[in-house]
Symmetry: C2
Subunit: 373 residues, 2 copies
């Protein structure tokens, strides 16, 4: 094994520094919830989210604001196999659209009072800086991965770089900026194919289990995409000695960047909200590299790509929303983030039965009286 192929110390240290959510704080949060002026458990999954936040942040009064939605973009060599209904140039055009604040995620983050950060992890011919436009984080590894049907998508060193950039961005966003929750979004033509291969590789699912129509393939396109996933798995499996081999051989720059971001966020006790299949592939990678991180993830929604369900099941996550979203860009994660914000706020702002002098359930009071008789 050559020196450059070893996992860098800074990545190993980051992984080792991630602490799992503390169940003692979830328990304390539950005790507090029982005192709040509502029937026990009556806010359902909102209360689960509150307890998860409490366990991650080690406090009964967690915060979920300000929230950040991060969009990482890159191109995929496999796009040359016509796995998308859209030409590869759309990735760069959409970067310009993000900068001009014209894309769905720009509007939705503004609508929901979330921060938005866009990073170029390897877009082909990325747009230059726009006057008054949203600026990008410059993390480009190279202008698009190689086609993984012809060889590795990237070198191990490039995979380390992509994860490292994600870790570094997480430091700034959780530190200086103080974001309490981070949603993972992405853009890149061909990315659902890459995500499908990664999910199959990491879970052992078959190509048929993970492949769907992406943003608009027809029947013929679907069959071709399945074949491509099968060929990629068959080509690279014999060469893969560890997870990093898989990540390099069939990964995407933006996906590995998001995995790094998730690890960095979890290290900083920050909840990570997953979006669609690509974002969830990144969450799966992060959890495989760093099992302690799994409890810091939330699934925002369930999209139509079969691999999304496979990855969520593997992570043990149940999505909050089912709105038939299949756009990506982090739109589903963004739509779930107000729910997370409300979950945090009820732990801070609600009165207790005692402070509001609201009687509890009759049965409970009777049994309390019984005990005092």
């Amino acid at each position: 094994m050559s020196a450059e192929s070893r996992v860098p110390e800074r990545i190993l240290r980051a992984i080792a520094a991630v602490e799992p959510p503390d169940p003692a704080w979830a328990q304390r949060a539950w005790v507090r919830q029982e005192q709040l002026t509502m029937p026990p458990g009556s806010l359902g999954r909102l209360l689960e989210l509150s307890r998860q936040l409490a366990a991650i942040q080690r406090t009964e009064t967690p915060r979920a604001s300000p929230g950040l939605l991060a969009v990482f973009a890159a191109d995929h060599g496999v796009a040359r196999e016509a796995v998308s209904a859209y030409p590869q140039s759309v990735t760069a055009r959409m970067m310009a659209n993000f900068s001009a604040r014209g894309a769905a995620i720009n509007v939705i983050t503004q609508s929901l009072d979330l921060g938005l950060q866009v990073a170029d992890f390897g877009v082909i011919r990325p747009p230059g800086p726009q006057a008054k436009g949203l600026s990008f984080q410059r993390c480009s590894i190279r202008e698009g991965t190689s086609n993984f049907l012809e060889g590795p998508a990237m070198s191990r060193e490039e995979a380390f770089q992509a994860v490292g950039h994600g870790l570094q961005l997480a430091s700034g966003w959780t530190g200086t900026h103080g974001y309490a929750v981070i949603g993972l979004g992405e853009m890149g033509i061909g990315s659902t194919t890459t995500a499908a291969v990664l999910i199959a590789a990491l879970t052992g699912a078959s190509a048929a289990d993970v492949v769907g129509r992406g943003t608009g393939l027809d029947d013929q396109g679907l069959v071709r995409k399945r074949e491509i996933v099968e060929r990629a798995l068959a080509l690279h499996r014999p060469q893969c000695r560890d997870i990093w081999d898989w990540l390099a051989r069939v990964g995407g720059f933006e996906i590995l960047g998001l995995a790094g971001l998730a690890i960095g966020a979890a290290r900083a006790h920050t909840l990570v909200v997953l979006d669609g299949v690509i974002s969830t592939a990144a969450g799966l990678i992060a959890a495989r590299l760093c099992p302690a991180l799994a409890g810091s993830l939330v699934a925002a929604h369930l999209g139509p790509e079969p691999g999304h369900k496979v990855a969520l099941d593997s992570l043990g996550l149940v999505p909050l929303l089912q709105l038939d979203l299949r756009l990506g860009e982090g739109t589903g994660a963004a739509l779930a983030m107000p729910i997370v914000r409300a979950a945090a706020d009820i732990m801070n702002g609600m009165a207790t039965f005692e402070s509001a002098r609201v009687p509890g359930p009759v049965a409970e009071r009777k049994s309390r009286q019984g005990r005092s008789d």
Copy 2:
């Protein structure tokens, strides 16, 4: 029939003034959506919501902000049958809690940047005005309905009054305040029993189909609640000549007030977001009184009370969220309202493929080239 039992002109006029959503505007919104920089249909139910808003407001660029959450509170005579895990005094205590901004709905509306209005439609011993507290709309018909196991819950005249108050509040909130979306919330011990009877009466469902545990009944309580619903239906059915007889005999002041609010909102081309089973019973009543209104309703979530699903099915509504909520107060409606806001905003803020110079799908461009060949 006595003079007082006739439906007042102001209510009949309000019902007649409601216009259904205009499908031509939904179509125009769809054409616009196809031009926005995302794969066609890729925002799923968000796009359905945008089209519904467009059809209600008669514009391609609808708005869903500011949003209001209205909580109507009243007591129920049937609460004397011990149909709730909580004593009846909780209704008034929770009113005080709303005023002191300590309840879940206070925190959630603040968290989600929504307006909150609370109205007393007939609370027993309602709290007085609190210094610096949230003030109430005073719409009390009387301190709680009568027990509908012993006679009518209210007179027809009182039912008209409750609906009339709701209509009047809608005028102010959609007019002077300019709220673009209104969520329906409620508070009142015993209200799930009232809602169950109303839903059974209006849909023909059986007591077993509609009755659940409310905010925390045990098995014995559940059996008793079913019997009560059966007895109420059997007692009043022979006396009911029209829907208003049902509304008076087994209704609740706050539920009829919410039905009036829904009619008034629809008349003002304002989307109405339903919450749990009680709020949805109000939506069902409104749609039965005024079928043109049905297209102005959205279901926020699905709660555990079986009657909720019965009522939603009868209205043809599919809920946006499934978060295992069973609190009421409008909490589910509030949590869905940011999604509605985002649905409106994408129609206003997104770039088109042309303006952003983003290429559309390959197949489409090929067929366009084909046509020009």
